[in-house]
Symmetry: C2
Subunit: 343 residues, 2 copies
């Protein structure tokens, strides 16, 4: 047991709303004795769902009413202006007001980022926020950022992302100085652009454990524990990876369902295939961190199921226990002070 942790959940967000959030919340409460959750959303709907689950709200499971909902396709600017009582906004407000230590939402990423930034504000040392996710690799996992908070990133931004990713990886993996790489392409003559080259020089001069450039395939080959890139490339790399994984799953399924013989083989092979799938199951990697804010916000995949949403709640608990925003702020200040002394 550690200090008590309180997390607000946007219970209406994501493709399945309370029907996923509430069972995941109950699981998280059962496995974390010092956890307290605040379900935010339409009170009547939430109470109905709790009733169905035979659970009364109590001091560890509060319900906070919010009259509105941000839809999955809503423009962030629209949500900011017109959804001041949305479950997402109220859940983030609770973090701002100190009633919750972190917030988890499976809602619209753009709206979540815009709202979190508006309500919680950025850390004073950080120029731009970044979205960081955990990806499975051959040897374990890697942290990659930015995955889409920014289309472009300056060398300074990439440097900040590296610091934020390093602090997060250090907290999650309990490692002092995680290795950090910059996503780049391989052809010598055209290697990278000026921003990436400049960021590489800054990282090489810093006290981070910088290991140099990482190519797209290196993400999955454990070339670095933290892979840094701009949001455009990060999003492209992540989505392409998801696309390949899906295609491969489908081709495996097709191969095993070709005829009666292959279907029999599938029966025998199923347990092995399932144990393989488990190692790259995206549900076990769910929960992207919105970094650079004065507060902890975890974005769950919109289509997350109970297991996946539960993973996102646990991600939030780890970040709270490890004071991730404070540590990002401290480390950036120390690095900036070091740079000033060098100048």
């Amino acid at each position: 047991m550690g200090d008590p942790v309180t997390i607000s959940l946007d219970a209406m967000g994501g493709d399945y709303g309370p029907s996923v959030v509430i069972p995941a919340a109950l699981q998280a409460l059962a496995s974390n004795a010092d956890l307290k959750l605040i379900l935010v959303g339409d009170e009547e709907i939430l109470r109905q769902h709790l009733q169905q689950a035979n659970r009364e709200p109590d001091e560890r499971l509060l319900v906070k009413h919010a009259s509105q909902q941000v839809t999955m396709c809503e423009l962030p600017s629209h949500a900011l202006r017109n959804k001041k009582d949305s479950s997402m906004r109220v859940a983030i407000n609770l973090v701002k007001e100190g009633m919750a230590d972190a917030c988890v939402s499976a809602g619209n990423t753009g709206a979540l980022m815009a709202t979190a930034r508006f309500v919680l504000k950025m850390l004073s040392t950080v120029d731009r926020p970044a979205i960081c996710a955990i990806l499975p690799t051959v040897g374990g996992h890697a942290h990659m950022l930015d995955l889409g908070a920014n289309v472009n990133a300056s060398a300074d931004n990439l440097f900040e992302f590296a610091v934020m990713g390093s602090v997060l990886a250090s907290a999650i993996d309990n490692i002092d100085k995680p290795t950090v790489g910059l996503l780049n392409i391989g052809e010598e003559e055209i290697k990278g652009n000026e921003r990436i080259k400049e960021a590489s020089r800054m990282l090489a001069d810093s006290e981070l454990n910088y290991v140099g450039y990482v190519e797209g395939d290196g993400i999955y080959a454990d070339k670095a524990m933290v892979v840094v890139c701009d949001g455009f490339n990060g999003n492209i790399a992540l989505k392409a990876s998801e696309g390949v994984a899906k295609m491969i799953s489908q081709k495996i399924r097709e191969a095993f369902s070709k005829n009666i013989l292959t279907k029999l083989v599938a029966l025998v092979a199923m347990p092995v295939l399932n144990s393989f799938r488990k190692t790259i199951d995206p549900r076990r990697y769910n929960g992207a961190s919105l970094l650079g804010l004065q507060g902890i916000v975890i974005k769950s995949h919109g289509g997350a199921d109970v297991l996946a949403f539960n993973t996102a709640i646990n991600q939030a608990i780890i970040e709270v226990r490890n004071r991730v925003p404070e540590r990002i702020s401290e480390q950036l200040e120390a690095l900036l002070a070091g740079q000033r002394n060098n100048d």
Copy 2:
């Protein structure tokens, strides 16, 4: 049988040089009665390899001496300046001189692109060359470009890439108007940058079969037959995809070799797994096209084996038979004329 086709092969290029190129050449000759090949490289070494394969040079299999070799790590500028008698350069010269209809090389991509551009020159209507490869998808395959010829690309360049990819896909898949998509990211508020938005407007106004934006996962989900992007994003997406595919293969192998029981299951499942692997076997997709040049140059993967290099030779034959550079030039001219009439 069609018209005779002559292809020059950089027989010293790639990780395995003549030990892969020569067997692949012999296979290609055996299966294409109207094919003629010119092996370019160190004559003595090539003759030794031919002797080992019990094959004499004849009118369908010529040997052309070249005293130098471009190494895999050599800077393109260095190769251009100092390797004027390299197997790569001489093979491309043969295309320039009209002795060959196309050239295939497994050598250093940057050097191949620089040399091809220098020797063959660009098509007058094309500003920048692009590298186009074929990728397996759920439903078949897609063509993607640029994969690394350019770090940046203007809206005009992306438009050109779309035209070139469309012509190539049309030639290879024998389809009149292949669908064309622009690689982009999904978040509404930050969707794309100005170059991509401008390219999208140009494509929507053109006579190409433009279907709009494609996200990273859409590449593999048959969202478009031709996926257009700048070389940086293309390279990142391609390498990340390769990385995921490799990781998945390894995890499957690990799952099946965990213990004696899973190894027995592997024996039963092997034929099915092999038939699955065949559908995404990169050797069956080997041979990237260097587009925008006044001539046909195919880049084989450096680590290509005999089957893979043979695929690249066949790719060259298809492009010769379909007069790909001429058709790119014609289509670009027609589209540019159309634009002028609209102005």
